[in-house]
C-alpha cells in the first residue's frame, strides 16, 4: 500500500519541478519574513531571484543547530505567535533547548508524512497501535500519534516508562503494531518473555526510530517478536519523525521529498557529493511555515539514491545512518551533547570541570555513567558529605540532559588529560 501515490511515485522530473517551484517560494518567504535569513543571504551575496530552482540551492548558506540556539527561542519563526499552534523542543548543544514552532498547516503536513511512513510499515485502519515514544516536548510521541490517527489506526498513547502496563495492554487489546525506539522494543521483548506472554501477542509491525540501529538489531526484533520492523527517521528541527521511513524492501529510507529537500555534502569542504557517496545529510524544508529551514545540517552521515525502489516508490532514499559528523549521542532516544554536561558541571563548585561519560547498553537499555573529579577543597571525610555532592551533580545533570545518569566521583587528576582533544565519551554500545 502507498499512502500518497501522486507524491511518492512521481517521476523524477515531476518531483524536481515541484521542488524547484517550492524552493523559489520558500526563499522569497524567508527573505521577507526572517531577518536572520535575509542577513545571511546578504552576507553570502545572494538575492531571492538568484534561486530559480533546486539546481541553485548550493548558492544558499547553511543553517546549523547553533543558529537555532543563537535565535532562542522564537527568532527563526517566520509567522507571528498567533499562527503558531504547537511548540516542541529538543536538546541544544549547551544549556538552551532547540525550539521549533508549528502552524496548523505544518501539523497537517507532519501527519501526512507520518501517515506515509505508517502505510509503508503496513499500519492502517485495521490496526491497534501502541505509541511508546515519549509524549511531550520530544516530537516522537505526538508526531507518531497524529500520523497513526491519520491512517485510521486505533491509537493507544502509551508514552514511555511503564513496560508492564505496555505488555499487559499489548496482550489484552490485541495490539498489532507498536512505535518506539528499537532498544526499548528489545527491552519489551525481554519483559514479554519473562512474563511468558510472547505467544499471546498479535504484533505484526514495529515502527522504530529516534536512535541509530543496525540490520542485526532489526533481525533480533523480528525474530523475537515475529514482527516486521521498519526504520522511521526524523529530527525535531526539520519536523519530527516521518521525514523518511523504509518500506518492506528495506533498501534505504524513502524521504518525503516534496516537503524536505535532501542533499548530501562533504562535511569538511561543504560541497555536494555524488549520489551513492557518504556525507552529511542536509535538509531544506520546502513547505514549512512556522520555522522553515534552509539547508539545515543534520550532522547525520548517510548516502542517497534516486533509483526507483522495488516497492514502486520513486522517492529519494537515504541509506542507514553511518554515524554523526559531530559528537552528539543518542541515549534512550534523547539527544545528548557532551558540551551540555560540561556547562552543567561548571555550576557545581565541588567538582572540577573534567568528566568522562560512559555509555553502555545493559539488558537493551542505554545506561549513562558520568565520572567527575571531586575538587580537593571540597573533599570531606564523611560519606554523607560525599553523597550530598553526588546527589547535587545527579540533579544538575538530570535538569540539563533530561535523562538520569549514574554519577561516580573520582580523585582529582584521575581522569586522563590528553593533549589536544580530550576524551569525554566512551560509548560501549555495540551497533553490529
Amino acid at each position: 500500500m502507498i499512502w500518497n501515490k501522486e507524491m511518492e511515485c512521481a517521476s523524477r522530473e515531476e518531483m524536481r519541478k515541484l521542488q524547484s517551484k517550492r524552493l523559489v517560494e520558500l526563499v522569497r518567504y524567508v527573505y521577507e519574513r526572517v531577518p536572520f535569513y535575509r542577513q545571511k543571504m546578504e552576507n553570502a551575496g545572494v538575492r531571492p531571484e538568484d534561486i530559480k530552482g533546486v539546481d541553485d540551492i548550493a548558492k544558499l548558506p547553511f543553517t546549523t543547530k547553533d543558529d537555532l540556539r543563537d535565535n532562542y527561542p522564537f527568532g527563526l519563526f517566520a509567522v507571528p505567535q498567533r499562527d503558531i499552534v504547537r511548540i516542541h523542543a529538543s536538546s541544544g548543544t549547551t544549556g538552551k533547548a532547540t525550539v521549533v514552532g508549528y502552524t496548523q498547516n505544518d501539523l497537517d503536513v507532519w501527519a501526512e508524512c507520518v501517515a506515509r511512513c505508517m502505510t509503508m510499515a503496513n499500519v492502517g485502519k485495521d490496526d491497534i497501535i501502541q505509541i511508546a515514544y515519549g509524549y511531550g516536548l520530544f516530537t516522537g510521541g505526538l508526531g507518531a500519534h497524529s500520523g497513526a490517527e491519520k491512517v485510521g489506526a486505533t491509537v493507544v498513547p502509551m508514552s514511555t516508562g511503564n513496560s508492564k502496563k505496555l505488555t499487559t495492554m499489548m496482550v489484552d487489546f490485541g495490539a498489532t503494531a507498536i512505535a518506539c525506539t528499537p532498544s526499548y522494543l528489545l527491552h519489551i521483548s525481554e519483559v514479554l518473555r519473562e512474563e511468558k506472554l510472547l505467544d499471546k501477542i498479535k504484533l505484526k509491525s514495529a515502527v522504530c526510530g529516534a536512535e541509530p540501529w543496525t540490520e542485526k538489531m532489526r533481525g533480533e526484533i523480528e525474530n523475537r517478536l515475529g514482527v516486521k520492523a521498519y526504520d522511521i527517521y526524523g529530527l525535531s528541527e526539520v519536523m519530527g519523525p516521518g521525514v523518511a521511513c523504509d518500506c518492506e524492501f528495506h533498501a534505504g529510507l524513502h524521504v518525503c521529498e516534496d516537503h524536505f529537500y535532501p542533499e548530501i555534502i562533504d562535511a569538511k569542504t561543504l560541497t555536494p557529493v555524488a549520489d551513492g557517496e557518504t556525507g552529511e545529510l542536509v535538509f531544506t524544508t520546502l513547505t514549512k511555515e512556522g520555522i522553515p529551514l534552509i539547508r539545515y545540517r543534520t550532522k547525520d552521515l548517510t548516502s542517497i539514491t534516486r533509483e526507483k525502489c522495488e516497492c514502486g516508490r520513486t522517492s529519494a532514499r537515504i541509506s542507514r545512518f553511518k554515524g554523526r559528523s559531530d559528537d552528539m549521542l543518542i541515549i534512550r532516544g534523547v539527544n545528548v551533547f557532551p558540551s551540555q554536561v560540561e556547562s552543567a558541571l561548571v555550576d557545581v563548585e565541588e567538582v572540577t570541570p573534567h568528566y568522562l561519560m560512559i555509555v553502555d547498553r545493559v539488558n537493551n537499555l542505554d545506561t549513562l555513567e558520568i565520572q567527575v573529579e571531586i575538587d580537593e577543597k571540597y573533599y570531606t571525610d564523611e560519606i554523607r558529605g560525599i553523597e550530598k555532592i553526588t546527589k547535587k551533580i545527579a540533579h544538575v545533570i538530570q535538569q540539563a540532559l533530561g535523562i538520569s545518569a549514574k554519577i561516580t566521583l573520582v580523585s582529582p587528576f584521575a581522569l586522563k588529560r590528553s593533549e589536544g582533544k580530550a576524551v569525554h565519551v566512551i560509548d560501549n554500545r555495540k551497533y553490529d
Binding site: 573533599y379 564523611e382 553523597e387 582529582p412
Partner: protein
C-alpha cells in the same frame, strides 16, 4: 588533647588502597590505625599516622584527595563496658559521627572518635577524668 586524622578518598579500583599505602611508606609515614569506610562506588580511608601533615602533603602530590581532621583518641581500659561508659558521659552533648579502634601494645586500648563538637566532647571527658591523646602521644604508645 586531640589528634589529627588523615583521610583519603579512594575510588573502587583494584590496587588503589595499595597505592596510598606505598606513597606513605616511601615517605616514611607510619600507620598507627586504619579504618576503611566503603560504598559501592568509592571508599574513605581514615588513618592515624605518625606524621599527618607530611602524609597529607605527599598524598596530595601523588594526586589523592585527602584532608586532616581533628579526632579524639580516647584511652580505655580492657574491660567489658568501658567504651559504653565513656560514650554515656558525652551522649547528651555531642553525637558520634564514626569510631574505630586503635591498637597499642600496652594494657589499655584506644578508640578513635569523630564527634560533632570536639571541644565540648573533650571538656566533658576531661571532667570525667578520661584521657584523650595527641598524635605525638599515640606515636609513643
Amino acid at each position: 588533647m586531640s589528634a589529627k586524622q588523615l583521610s583519603v578518598f579512594i575510588e573502587n579500583r583494584q590496587g588503589r588502597l595499595g597505592e596510598v599505602l606505598s606513597v606513605l611508606k616511601n615517605n616514611e609515614v607510619n600507620l598507627l590505625s586504619l579504618s576503611l569506610a566503603d560504598t559501592t562506588e568509592y571508599g574513605i580511608l581514615r588513618l592515624i599516622v605518625s606524621y599527618p601533615e607530611k602524609g597529607k602533603e605527599c598524598l596530595t602530590k601523588a594526586g589523592f584527595s585527602c584532608m586532616l581532621a581533628d579526632v579524639l583518641v580516647v584511652k580505655i581500659p580492657h574491660r567489658t563496658g568501658a567504651l559504653q561508659e565513656i560514650l554515656e558521659c558525652v551522649s547528651d552533648k555531642v553525637s558520634v559521627e564514626y569510631a574505630y579502634g586503635l591498637s597499642t601494645d600496652k594494657a589499655d586500648a584506644c578508640v578513635v572518635l569523630k564527634v560533632s563538637d570536639i571541644k565540648t566532647a573533650r571538656d566533658v571527658l576531661s571532667q570525667n577524668g578520661i584521657e584523650t591523646l595527641s598524635t605525638d602521644e599515640i606515636d609513643k604508645l
